[in-house]
């Protein structure tokens, strides 16, 4: 068991190293000159040259990458003397556009994304599992068919469109809510909630659609299992059988998929954050694209990749613990 876990973690680390190398090379080989982007249009060539040396863009690419990786573990100091500035570990580079260390920027925006993802996750699991179970228990009846139509629409509608429709109808047409203006929950709980409620609902409803389908199928499959029939034969109440036997069996695969989806959201809910103008990591990333802010782009890509790989590894390990056959492979 220990070797299995150790192997999985080692593999995750290797994978992350590969992702970081690939991302770094991909963006470094683009035809944009990162040094030229450090100051405005009327920039003196001397300043560009000085910035190039300060940020290390004059060095060969493998050395730049090495510096970048070193920075993650040891922090990094740019320039020397009076104008030197340091990004402490874990340093992901320095953004000249925003005059801030990338790690600081990510640290500022991540909580927003985390709140968004967490709230949406809780809502969509409740909604998806609830509706899925409901549909399974009414299989073939009109409730089931209605759910199937609604989820078909939900599964395939683009998030930005639904988000905008929700935003327009609630905020502008019906005027039930003021225009969302994000504030951190410790600062102003009311603003936080009014800004979060619509993105939560949008994300939750759209994601819940596919979870409804998964749950419905899982529940129906589980109801055919011998242990469920045994529960019924024992004379247990329907409610007890469903809660204790059916749902428990049906939910294991769903929870693992949910873990992966949750991790993908944590890496930046680009579309939702753009639609509802939430200052999260997704918007930071998108802004870095429009500004050609390479350090931020590399940083956000890597952080997103870390979440995805971490979630994958955790899911694998949990599966390995639950199902010994996986370990052998």
């Amino acid at each position: 068991m220990t070797t299995f876990i150790a192997r999985r973690i080692l593999f995750a680390l290797v994978l992350l190293a590969a992702v970081s190398l690939f991302t770094y090379l991909l963006f470094a080989l683009l035809p944009t000159d990162p040094a030229a982007l450090t100051c405005g249009k009327n920039c003196k060539p001397e300043l560009i040259a000085a910035n190039r040396v300060r940020l290390g863009y004059d060095k060969p690419i493998y050395e730049q990458y090495w510096q970048f990786i070193k920075g993650i573990f040891a922090g990094r100091t740019y320039g020397s003397g009076d104008i030197a500035f340091t990004c402490p570990a874990p340093s992901l580079g320095y953004s000249f556009n925003q005059h801030e260390c990338v790690s600081t920027l990510i640290g500022k925006t991540f909580p927003v994304t985390a709140f968004l993802s967490l709230g949406a996750f809780i809502l969509w699991m409740l909604l998806g599992v609830g509706t899925g179970t409901f549909a399974a228990l009414h299989r073939g009846k009109w409730q089931d068919r209605l759910t199937s139509v609604v989820t078909s629409i939900g599964v395939s509608l683009p998030t930005f469109y639904v988000g905008l429709l929700v935003l327009f109808s609630v905020v502008i047409w019906l005027q039930w809510l003021p225009f969302p203006h994000y504030a951190s929950p410790t600062e102003n709980l009311h603003d936080f909630l009014t800004a979060m409620i619509l993105p939560w609902i949008t994300l939750a409803v759209l994601s819940a659609a596919s979870y409804t389908r998964l749950t419905r199928n899982g529940v129906l499959e589980a109801m055919n299992e011998d242990f469920v029939r045994f529960g019924v034969a024992k004379g247990l109440k329907n409610r007890t059988v469903i809660r204790r036997y059916v749902l428990r069996a049906a939910l294991i695969p769903i929870v693992t998929i949910a873990g992966l989806d949750f991790a993908a959201l944590l890496g930046g809910a680009i579309v939702t954050e753009s639609v509802f103008s939430l200052p999260g990591m997704g918007r930071l990333a998108i802004r870095s694209v429009t500004d050609s802010d390479l350090p931020v782009l590399v940083g956000t890509t890597l952080v997103a990749a870390v979440f995805i790989v971490m979630a994958n590894t955790i899911v694998d390990i949990v599966y390995g613990v639950l199902d010994p056959r996986v370990r052998v492979k």
Binding site: L16, R139, L157, F160, Y161, L220, V309
Partner: protein, 328 residues
């Protein structure tokens, strides 16, 4: 195997009923699913409209590029209720330019469906080939392909797609792809396929691994069948069902993704339109011309829903063991 199958199959032994191939049985099951049949007609309708866009527009007397200033008021907004719907403009006109929305919708279907079809085709071909090779050969090749899959999955794809749009379309243009929208469309299709094949490959690999252990495959191997025979006669015919289902479900997904990319600013450039571009445009006029917001949206919902329903119907027809048929 459900009871109805056995019922139709048993008399075969006595020659009372003509024998039916699995494909024929699936087709008969599909035909009985009325909703799915209607959905496939809807899909067919959209495809025909897209293919025959110039003819349809000519017959209706509309043109996607004609600017109709008369349909706009002094503020450049549609002159009339619901986006200035009139006999001349059945779905109204576009704010700002006065272009006919129906014509743009018809031509937009071309782009949206093209992106959907080509991306689906590419992802399916790459995914099926790599998935079968990995599952059939196992060993080192499987390990390489699987690690490659893991690597692809580790990237936040949407962010990368957006970030690489500009440099890569420029690269494509320097390779001789016509500048502007052709290069952008090529980029979108290529990059969607690059990230999309992984999901197909995973499923196909799993199916192949399971099939490998079945008796009929072992029998073929024991009788000395070559690789080609194994892949094309033994494995592929048995994984067609999941592949067809993946295709019918991923196509509307790509249509939706294309619209998201357009919304985020990396889609087509004007005056060409896809449904995604129209959705992205209509958002700007949500206050002054809310009717415009619903036209491309409803079209997208209908198409996507039709594909999904058709896909579900196909799954039920091709794989009678799957959920709906047996339990629903």
């Amino acid at each position: 195997m459900s009871n109805t199958d056995l019922a139709t199959r048993e008399p075969q032994v006595f020659g009372a009923v003509e024998s039916k191939s699995p494909g024929r049985l699936a087709w008969e099951r599909f035909r009985r699913d009325r909703v799915a049949v209607i959905a496939s007609f809807v899909v067919l309708f959209f495809v025909c409209i897209a293919l025959l866009a110039p003819l349809v527009c000519k017959a209706l007397g509309i043109n996607p590029l004609t600017l109709d200033r008369k349909a706009l008021n002094d503020y450049g907004l549609p002159n009339g209720p619901f986006g200035a719907i009139s006999r001349k403009h059945l779905l109204g006109v576009e704010p700002g330019t006065g272009r006919d929305i129906l014509a743009r919708l018809i031509y937009g279907a071309r782009v949206s469906l093209l992106v959907g079809f080509v991306s689906t085709l590419l992802t399916t071909v790459i995914g099926v080939v790599l998935g079968i090779v990995a599952g059939y050969r196992r060993g080192k090749i499987d390990a390489i392909i699987s690690r490659f899959t893991d690597l692809t999955l580790a990237f936040p794809s949407l962010l990368l797609i957006i970030a690489l749009t500009r440099p890569f379309t420029q690269r494509l243009e320097s390779f001789g792809v016509p500048e502007g929208n052709p290069a952008r469309l090529t980029y979108i299709v290529l990059v969607l396929s690059l990230f999309g094949w992984v999901y197909v490959a995973r499923i196909v690999r799993g199916q192949t691994l399971a099939l490998r252990e079945r008796e009929f495959v072992e029998a073929a191997r024991a009788s000395g069948a070559g690789h080609w025979h194994m892949v094309f006669k033994e494995l592929l015919p048995n994984i067609w069902a999941p592949i067809i289902v993946i295709v019918s479900l991923s196509l509307p997904g790509y249509v939706a993704v294309e619209s998201t990319l357009s919304f985020l600013g990396v889609g087509l450039l004007p005056p060409d339109a896809s449904w995604g571009v129209m959705l992205g445009d209509s958002v700007k006029y949500y206050r002054a011309d809310p009717a415009y917001l619903f036209v491309p949206g409803v079209a997208l919902i209908v198409l996507v829903l039709a594909f999904n329903v058709m896909g579900d119907g196909l799954r039920d027809a091709l794989d009678p063991k799957s959920d709906r048929q047996q339990l629903g």
